[in-house]
């Protein structure tokens, strides 16, 4: 309970900071970068629930991101359905697919689970690319409409910024509540030892499936937000590499840490912008940063920085 209160305060501070940023930043480019950070944070958070807390790795998470984006694109553009109706459809589609794929896949563990989810991700990506009459194929899907409530459209970057970060904040609170509950404890128990968790009465298979479905729903929501922000989607955005990028965000930021998802997503969104100056060396430096962080701060930046801080304090005390 104490933790939750602390978290609420943190969320409040964070909300205030986000509001201030949203109001003060004038430059559309910065706003847009922050919108993408928000979408990526949601993605990282969704995977963190599955991977960080429940300990189930997924190398195909971009598939759900894509399912969300494509479902809303197809419904709202091809069939002219309001995006607000397409949203539940997108989330539900992702959840249904997660349910049917999760049942056999989540029985696997370790590298086998990694490979199973990876295979699923690649198959979904091929469907995006090959089902041309519906998805627009490799060239992509054009003409996705902006979001509107009555006459109020989320068509400026500032408005969209608030929408995205509102959603992110909402999920920060939701995820924290889940983690601090009976369900969250059961998930962490599965992470620490699946046998022991079953031996104290946790239905591990059902619990894993539940969190997988929840995680898919969140990723699909991120896809929805992405599609209505850039009005264009193509299969490349939801490829295997995108899945790897999401995993990287979670791991770099810190597994089993809600704020870690924010940190990881921010870093991996901004890093390429900073590395731009290095031109041809960009790829090498990006790879090097990944390796160095993992070698020296294997628990991710959030935890790593905290540890360094605590160690230095201990030293000072002595």
């Amino acid at each position: 309970m104490i933790r939750t209160d602390k978290h609420l305060i943190a969320c409040f501070v964070f909300a205030a900071a986000a509001t201030a940023t949203g109001l003060l930043v004038e430059n559309a480019y910065y706003l847009q970068v922050m919108i993408f950070i928000g979408i990526n944070t949601l993605l990282a958070l969704s995977l963190n629930m599955l991977m960080g807390y429940a300990g189930q790795i997924s190398l195909g998470h971009a598939a759900f991101y894509g399912i969300g984006a494509y479902t809303t694109a197809i419904l709202s553009t091809t069939y002219n359905i309001s995006p607000w109706l397409a949203l539940p459809a997108a989330v539900f589609t992702a959840m249904a697919i997660a349910y049917f794929v999760g049942r056999p896949t989540l029985r696997l563990t370790g590298y086998y689970l990694a490979m199973g989810t990876l295979g699923f991700g690649i198959i979904v990506n091929i469907i995006f690319r090959e089902w041309r009459s519906v998805t627009g194929g490799a060239s992509g899907f054009v003409g996705i409409p902006p979001l509107e409530i009555g006459s109020f459209a989320f068509d400026t970057d500032r408005r969209y910024f608030f929408l995205v970060w509102g959603v992110v904040l909402f999920f920060f609170i939701i995820c924290r509540r889940i983690i601090d509950s009976r369900v969250g404890r059961a998930l962490r128990a599965i992470h620490d030892g699946e046998h022991a968790a079953a031996a104290v009465g946790v239905d591990t298979a059902k619990m894993k499936l539940k969190i997988f479905v929840l995680s898919a729903a969140m990723a699909s929501l991120a896809g929805f937000l992405y599609a209505h922000q850039i009005f264009f989607i193509s299969p490349g955005t939801f490829s295997f590499l995108a899945s790897i990028r999401i995993v990287t965000m979670v791991v770099i930021g810190g597994m089993a840490s809600i704020w870690g998802s924010l940190l990881g997503a921010s870093l991996l969104t901004l890093l390429p912008e900073w590395l731009h100056a290095f031109a041809d060396y960009e790829m090498m430096i990006y790879g090097l940063v990944l390796m160095l962080v993992m070698i020296f701060l294997p628990q991710g930046l959030t935890r790593g920085i905290l540890d360094i801080y605590e160690n230095s304090r201990k030293k000072n005390d002595k």
């Binding site: 509950s181 009976r182 369900v183 968790a197 104290v200 946790v202």
Partner: protein, 257 residues
């Protein structure tokens, strides 16, 4: 003898791994609120029997009934819900969680909050959570770890980890508690405390099945003892009888011709 009189009835079960007959038509039964010890030399099949009872794998033949109901085909977590708790030989705590949280996970089957409930936090569930915490602290108090509730469980010394595991198993409110070598790795003093704890667990109306190497502990705390050797039951009875049983002596000390 009707099976209803027994909490757990093991009826001529067998289990083979490859060509090795790990358990060979073993039968025995536990009456309610008893403490039964399961002993035998290394490789006697104690752990296999333990795993059969806790539902890790099913027997090849025979039947295990818990309160008259067959447990075959039931998943491990369902057995916990039915009232079957266990500990592990090598202590398997949830290492990233606090001492209190470990016990709270033990209360999983006795609470009901789901994902949706945890998000909305209805008054009923808030109350449930508060009760769960109170109950968990009580259990920690019972095993003497209440002061350490907010420590990381992996930071505890080994003996205390065992006690915590016991508290966690008790949290699921079992009718039958299966302890897999609870004294392994404990010093004399700790073993004595453990014996007392097992006694008071029984006083709470819980039946105990103890798989143990430590003879002193078994002889002191158990009402009945079942002896296994090479997958077969070779003796069963009160400790004193077992101590003087020739077959048991032979199994432990080598067979005199």
């Amino acid at each position: 003898m009707t099976s209803n009189a027994h909490l757990l009835a093991i009826d001529s079960i067998s289990k083979a791994f490859g060509g090795v007959q790990a358990i060979d038509t073993v039968s025995f039964a536990l009456s309610p609120e008893s403490i039964t010890g399961l002993i035998g030399p290394n490789g006697a099949g104690k752990t296999t029997l333990f795993n059969l009872v806790t539902g890790i794998f099913p027997p090849d033949s025979g039947d295990i009934r818990f309160r008259g109901e067959s447990i075959s085909g039931k998943a491990v977590h369902e057995l916990v819900g039915m009232g079957l708790g266990r500990t592990f030989q090598n202590v398997e705590l949830f290492s990233s969680m606090s001492v209190l949280e470990n016990v709270l996970v033990g209360l999983h089957t006795r609470t009901s909050c789901g994902i949706i409930g945890s998000v909305f936090r209805t008054p009923r569930l808030v109350k449930e959570e508060r009760r769960a915490r109170e109950r968990a602290l009580e259990l920690l108090d019972f095993v003497g770890l209440a002061d350490l509730a907010h420590q990381r469980s992996s930071d505890l010394p080994f003996g205390w980890q065992r006690l915590l595991e016991l508290a966690r198993a008790l949290a699921s409110k079992p009718d039958l508690l299966l302890l897999d070598e609870p004294a392994a790795g404990l010093n004399m003093g700790e073993t004595d405390t453990l014996g007392e704890l097992i006694e008071s667990i029984r006083k709470h109306g819980i039946t105990v099945l103890l798989v143990e190497h430590d003879m002193a502990l078994t002889m002191k705390t158990c009402d009945r003892i079942v002896v296994l050797d090479r997958g077969k039951k070779i003796a069963e009875g009160p400790p004193r009888t077992i101590q003087s049983d020739e077959a048991v002596m032979a199994a432990y000390l080598g067979k005199p011709k």
